[in-house]
Symmetry: C2
Subunit: 208 residues, 2 copies
Amino acid sequence: MSNRQRILDEALLLMNEQGAQAIGTKQITDATGISPGNLYYHFKNKEEIVRSLFATLDLEFRESLIDELDPPISPARFASFYLDSLNIAWKHRYFFGGLLHLLRKDAVLAARYRDMQNWALGNLENIARQVVRDGNMAKPRGNNGYHSLALNTWLIWCNWIRHVQVSAPDHGIDRGGVKAGVAQIFDVMSPYLKPEYDKQARKILILG
Amino acid sequence: MSNRQRILDEALLLMNEQGAQAIGTKQITDATGISPGNLYYHFKNKEEIVRSLFATLDLEFRESLIDELDPPISPARFASFYLDSLNIAWKHRYFFGGLLHLLRKDAVLAARYRDMQNWALGNLENIARQVVRDGNMAKPRGNNGYHSLALNTWLIWCNWIRHVQVSAPDHGIDRGGVKAGVAQIFDVMSPYLKPEYDKQARKILILG
DNA sequence: AATTTATTAGAGTATTTGCTCTATTTTGGG
DNA sequence: CCCAAAATAGAGCAAATACTCTAATAAATT
């Protein structure tokens, strides 16, 4: 594996453990055994390391929400949208933990994040619209019902991991915490979902 | 006003503007014109300044959710729970912006935050139970329906301001953003609220 | 083989940060 | 008015941080 990749892997590991702001180039070079000069050969600065890590998060997240199948959306597929994407949020939890600080320091990153957010809100809305078209969900209330539902899903998606972390004395999280987050998302949608569809979708949270 | 209070006021102001991790004792002493020695006379360390600020947040938040009136809970009172508490979250937005980092660095603060969170979850649940008893709300679904509803309210409460900040290019927020957060909380509860009660409660978001 | 290009090492630097120390001034009770 | 306690000032320090510079080595290309 290249030293460049080693830097990225170690940075992700350390930042997830201790938070992005607690990790400097020093910690990364110490942990990898790579010299600072070498690190700065591969990355212009620390900002670029974070941008590179975010690019991976962005890519993985978008992939997790893309539906290449024909409608209707099966309950299992529906559930896997949220489970897959939340697992990605868990993998990159350093990012949401330090979100505001990271975006304040780097306007380019902030713009990219807002792009991702807008894309996500649109896509989450589309998923809901399709499930309604499939006849498995009642139309959410109000004139911006779809938007509000998508926004709530998004809010839980990008804040759930941090919530679990601050709720545990050691700031840790296990995979069970991720599933609880999906359940929390379902609880927002439950009032609109057909009971049988809801039940089928939740099966993914019980099994493997 | 005492120098001690001046330090607290300026710290809150600066941290809200630039984030808790961006503000050091230097910035506070520069902005207030108070010497570092004097600052450290009033506070043992920076940690104590943050703890002191949190104590205020904790107090104000708890007061905003206490109901000293007799049931039933009026729609206006119901709405003001969320509007008042969210205004407090706005006032102390530095805290939620840097939440994970702050709690990781200070275990005592972390414990106090979890206390507040547990109290809040219990209280939000009690409010919902009372509105159901008053006949203005349907019992939320599932065996832990109340808990899930309270948790969603809590999640929006402590993450809404940050969401608005990262969504705006300048990371700012105005009072309208606060009201949108209350509307978002209502959207979670709407499916259970009596339509007329819901409508009355939302009036507070249009007026004043 | 020659030479350019990519990669690595590590000492070094300028700046910042949280905090201490000593010294001086202000204040309030007897 | 006295004096101890509270409050304030500001020089200074040890550690950390992001990053640069120079020089050496490995890989690729001709």
